[in-house]
């Protein structure tokens, strides 16, 4: 009798063990490191304002607890909020020592002034400046992250940051307010109305 009990327990234990072993293989999820997940939330401007050499090193520093989450000006308040959410911390103010939150701008080279020294090309962390020695340089607008790292090296100060002019493409519908409580959003402009009719 006792041997039957032992046997059945052993079999049950073996079955459970096999099941668990199979499950660990079958449902294995590759762990993403904390640094990777933090890196996903950083804006990848690679500007170094956080006092690290790029977004990835900063992410690793946050993951190991060496850096605070409020050192990234391009990420701004929303970036800090996202990091706080990931790490389960309270959102905090951006550290002013690292810089201020600014609208996204891109670098523009004044091509008349550029002397073709290639210093900005070497400074650009994302290879967004095109040019060669003694040739005019230009910024690939679509690749520029707005990190401003090209500005200090320029010997003739021909690079400026420009906020792209908002056009139709950049237009976004506003966050709805309690629309129907307000008076009509766009009353007919009275001076535009034909005389005598309004």
């Amino acid at each position: 009798m006792i041997s039957l009990a032992l046997l059945s327990l052993c079999l049950f234990g073996a079955a459970c063990g096999l099941g668990l072993g199979w499950a660990t293989k079958k449902f294995r999820v590759e762990p993403t490191s904390l640094a990777d997940r933090i890196d996903q939330l950083l804006p990848q401007t690679q500007c170094g304002q956080c006092s690290y050499t790029g977004c990835r090193p900063y992410a690793e520093a946050i993951a190991t607890g060496q850096a605070e989450i409020n050192q990234c000006p391009p990420g701004g308040a929303s970036g800090i909020k996202a990091l706080a959410g990931l790490l389960g911390r309270e959102p905090m103010q951006l550290n002013p020592e690292n810089g201020m939150e600014k609208p996204v701008a891109i670098a523009v080279i004044d091509e008349q002034v550029c002397i073709g020294c290639t210093l900005c090309i070497q400074a650009c962390p994302v290879d967004a400046i095109l040019g060669a020695t003694k040739q005019m340089h230009t910024v690939i607008a679509a690749e520029c992250t707005g990190c401003e790292l090209c500005i200090p090296p320029c010997p003739v100060d021909c690079i400026v940051m420009k906020v792209p002019r908002p056009g139709w493409d950049a237009w976004r519908p506003p966050r709805p307010v309690m629309a129907r409580v307000l008076p009509p959003q766009h009353p007919l402009p009275e001076h535009d109305a034909p005389a005598g009719d309004m």
Binding site: T45, P184, P194
Partner: protein, 509 residues
Amino acid sequence: MKQDTAAELARNAGKRVFHFHGGLRLHHHKQASCKVAVQTLAIPPRLYIPLAQNAGPAAQPLVTPGSRVLKGQQLARFDEPSLGFVHAPTSGTVVAIARQPVTHQSGLEGLCVVLKPDGLDRWTQLDPIEHWRSVDAEVILQRLCESGLVGLGGAVFPTSKKVDEARKSGIHTLILNGAECEPYISCDEMLMREQPDKIVLGALILQRAVAAEQVIIAIEDQMGEVFSALQAALSRADCTDVRLVRVTTIYPDGGEKQLIQVLTGLEVPSGCRPPELGLLCHNVATAAAVAEAVTEGKPLLQRIVTVSGNGVKRPSNLLALIGTPISNLVDACGGYTEDAARLVLGGPMMGYALASDQNPVIKAANCILVLSQRDVQPGQAEMPCIRCGECARVCPALLLPQTLNWQIRNDLLDQATDSGLGECIECGCCDYVCPSHIPLVDWFRFGKSEHNLLSKARAQSERARDRFEAREARLEQLRQDRTRRMNEKKQALQDRPPSPDGAPGRGQP
């Protein structure tokens, strides 16, 4: 097996009328503007012709201020060849090419050609394709492109591009959408009543261009006169493969996806376009414009615009040149009533408020709606959502608007997209039935654009990361190469026995 039945259903389009989920039976308010025939609007003193169509890129001007232009002459060319040209709606002098307020939700300015008409309305040289039945389909396509034809139902997608893409997928059924479902709008209805022959002709040309086996003209069952007019036109044209189908009037039956569902019982799969089902949908007004462009050589210079609503004295339909300021249209309808409150482009369900009546008529402008004070419902305050589910009951895309609303308000944009935000057609049914008066569609438009921006920013940062890492790797490689070369040289130097006449690098004392 499933594929077969789907294909069969698609081929049997229009033989049975199906239903789509939700929708609303609305008062259509069309009678007011349908009482009188379409009037041709007098040429206004100035025309403002926008160089961009909605959010697309702007065209490059071909004329300079001071140029004299003829009616139908090309004013500007788009960089993208399939977008064609912008044409002069009448003959006159270009006064300026300047930034003007344009007809767009944003109320922003855009580049416009300002034209001072000379009143003569002289045509440029026209080139009709008389033997369109025998020419190559490519020739017809080319003509559609050159004529600046776009979908006149509201989406202003370039017709030639749509037809070209459809041809590649193989089309068996061409559907002409005459189910103009939004209240107040009656421009297509009037066009079908007054020019049915032109629509049938356009249908045949489009059928020829995409080599479709059959054509269906879909209209709503409340359009009595339209049915008889089109039927008469069909018997005159003596075409057997064009069928007229009346669909039940339930808003939004005129939406492309909804109309296809009504006619075939099929849903256009997510992320696909109707051509993948072998179907192609065009607006009836587009078909009429196709007929003009091909058989008369006339580019798209004018359109019928409904001017209606309680804020205008004599609602009617007007044939207006593209670029005519909206105030001219309102004047032609007797002007504003005393309690006019809001100017809307499009219908009451999907339209948007305009900032000024100086905005010009554009190709997408099917209706100018002037709402009166009592239409804009002042004093109905927004209340919290009580999850009553009415919005889900009427949603033709089978979404749960109450959930989407909650997700967007809490910035859960990825979740909202997973819940189908992208499938929202912004028909406004949920807004209409919401007992808490929540501006749901406004939230969905906002959420879509925010999510769009977010995905763009994500893609951008992803690219920046890749480029940064590639650069780091390259620099590292260079460093390693340099070290290796130096070491190799050092090694070579040490290995080589010192030469008597002195090796380079060894300075003489």
